[in-house]
């Protein structure tokens, strides 16, 4: 699985290279060159451009959308002041969606990776089903959910018939709908890495847990879960990072409303409509930095040395 790469970094090779003769390290450097060039070109350059943009000042007597290079750090203060609720909302929604996706994805991964082991064909089929949503554009899928949850849709109709919803209530446009959309979208990203670690899980450890007086639940807590932690960490990162930057689910055109706007939506508005490029860039940088800090702390906390 491609997701394996996420958890099993390139560390082992690097260590031996340093111990080897100097010529070896030069060869390694040479082999790394395309990768470094790629990173420089497609990651570093846009990042620097983004940083420069975030400090730009409006051109004097210029039109809307015209800016000059400057060092206007007030841009950051301004966007934080204006958009703090959106920033908090983004990480809040992403965190809830990550937890929900974990609660749904872990048992699913366990079932496919452990219970279905004896039936390889069924296992393969189940994996295809997990990935199946990717065959349809996620825009279309989100639109489909919008239809289903729409005021004239079947769900609202059924809830109305059961008098569980008042006449003024909606599902679309609520935080719950946005979190639902995020959770739905990222369940495969959560499930697959966890599946890869559970699929390799040696069940003899589980048996040993039972033999050593651990009840099934305790065995899960002390043996199975720690052994599948690399998958859980990969899955939560693959969910949390893109979810906090998502702007489709929360957008008014899909499951959200103005009350549910996340950073992504604000960036989009600033960039495309208000043409306030420095604000959009500053928001992006803030989003990126916050994610980096959160993820760093998370990996460190759940961090065992065999994790990354």
């Amino acid at each position: 699985m491609a997701f394996g790469a996420f958890s099993s970094g390139a560390a082992p090779g690097v260590a031996t290279v340093q111990e080897g003769p100097r010529r070896k390290s030069r060869v390694a450097l040479f082999l790394l060159l395309p990768g470094i060039a790629y990173l420089a070109l497609f990651f570093l350059v846009p990042l620097i451009s983004l940083l420069l943009t975030s400090f730009m000042a409006p051109r004097e007597f210029g039109d809307i959308g015209q800016f000059d290079y400057a060092f206007r750090w007030e841009n950051y203060v301004k966007v934080v002041e204006t958009y703090l609720p959106h920033i908090l909302r983004s990480f809040g929604y992403a965190a809830i969606a990550t937890v929900l996706a974990l609660i749904i994805g872990y048992p699913l991964a366990y079932f496919i990776g452990v219970n279905l082991r004896r039936f390889p064909l069924v296992q393969a089929l189940a994996l295809v089903l997990v990935i199946a949503p990717f065959f349809i554009s996620f825009l279309l899928r989100t639109l489909a959910w919008k239809q289903i949850f729409a005021d004239e849709g079947p769900v609202v109709g059924a809830l109305n018939a059961l008098s569980l919803m008042g006449p003024g209530d909606h599902i679309t446009g609520t935080p719950a709908a946005v979190v639902f959309g995020l959770t739905y979208m990222f369940i495969p990203f959560m499930t697959l890495p966890i599946y890869t670690s559970l699929e390799r899980l040696d069940l003899r450890y589980v048996e040993a847990g039972g033999d050593l007086y651990a009840s099934p639940w305790t065995t899960f807590r002390t043996v199975t879960l720690p052994l599948s932690m690399p998958g859980v960490v990969s899955g939560t990162l693959l969910t949390f990072i893109p979810a906090s930057g998502d702007y489709i689910n929360a957008s008014r055109d899909f499951l959200g409303s103005t009350e549910t706007a996340m950073i992504g939506n604000v960036v989009e508005t600033n960039f495309l409509i208000l043409q306030n490029y420095p604000a959009a860039a500053a928001l992006s940088i803030i989003l990126m930095a916050t994610i980096l800090i959160l993820v760093g702390a998370y990996v460190r906390k759940s961090g065992t040395e065999d994790l990354v």
């Binding site: 040696d202 003899r204 450890y205 048996e207 040993a208 847990g209 039972g210 033999d211 050593l212 007086y213 651990a214 009840s215 099934p216 305790t218 065995t219 002390t222 043996v223 720690p226 052994l227 065992t304 065999d306």
Partner: protein
Amino acid sequence: MSKNEFGTSGADLELRGVSKRFPGFTAIEELDLTIPAGSFFALLGPSGCGKTTTLRIVAGLEEPTTGRVLIGGKDVTDAKPFQRPVNTVFQSYALFPHMTVIENIAFGLRRRRIEDPLGKAREALRLVELENVAQRRPAQLSGGQQQRVALARAIVNRPALLLLDEPLGALDLKLRRQMQLELKEIQAQVGLTFLHVTHDQEEAMTMADTVAVMNKGRIEQMGAPEELYERPRTAFVANFLGQSNLFGGKVVSSSDESIVVDVHGYRVEVPRARSQRHSGEVAVGVRPEKIELHANEPVPASGINIVGPGRVTDVSFSGVSTSYQVSLPGLGVVTVFAQNRSFGPVVHEGEQVWLSWHVEHGFGLEDEPEQLPKFAADDDTQSIAAQRRRQLQTELEGA
């Protein structure tokens, strides 16, 4: 049973009519077994005969198709593994890779909320002489060290019954011998019931009070090691535990003390008490080290079986003893072991010899003579060595 009970003595194990069928394969058929408390019991058999399956049934990791399992008189057939006063040293160790050695050992104690788990774990680690690796991960240990940690992890719980599944399999010969002695010492120290599974007959005989020889899912014979060796009841036992010379023949006369079998014209007398069958076609045998070689025909005497003359076809020196293959017309090839009391072999290849042994050293088997294995079991190390030697010789001669 109380979870916090810290066993101080072993419990007996009883299997009543236990069988296990996997889809399309019967791993165990009708096993009845009683292991008294505090004993060191070995289950010996070739690989695939159902030893691990038996242990897994006792541990609760496998459900028996029929039969009951009783530990200390209590029926635990329906109890889950974590509810049984049993610990296992797994064939694969199954040490938790994400925990340090000391945490691995303390695992069972923590689950039962026993006081001072780390102190007790350290004590167990001392018992297997590995105090210095307490903080390491299992992956950083050698196979032999892992095996000892697995042992400590099980023993520290003082289970009423300790199951050992080929726990010394990964060790080289010297360490294995040393661990055998240590294990036996530990068992004597802690006084628990040990059920030890192995395919190594020497290991079973040196360690256990009682050995059960298992073959194809059933127990062929059970008893003290000496008894099994001296009085095997079946051809399988006779050949799996050491080597035997087996002959078939018809009983021609019998008295209260012995039966006399006609083996291709030779008169072979076997004590009645050491024979399973007393009339008709029977199979009898004698251990190779019980046979004496004679260069001249010995004088017949009562209480002695004499066969010969035969020709020595192979002499192979193995340090303590020398193994001779003697070909006798009608009888086939007989193996004789002689201690190397003097320098060099007593007789040489091609020489004519007579064989003799005391009547009381013979034994009679349950098996039908036609079903006797023509050759010793393939997994017998001595026969493999002899075969290999013969191969080498022909290669050398050809070169």
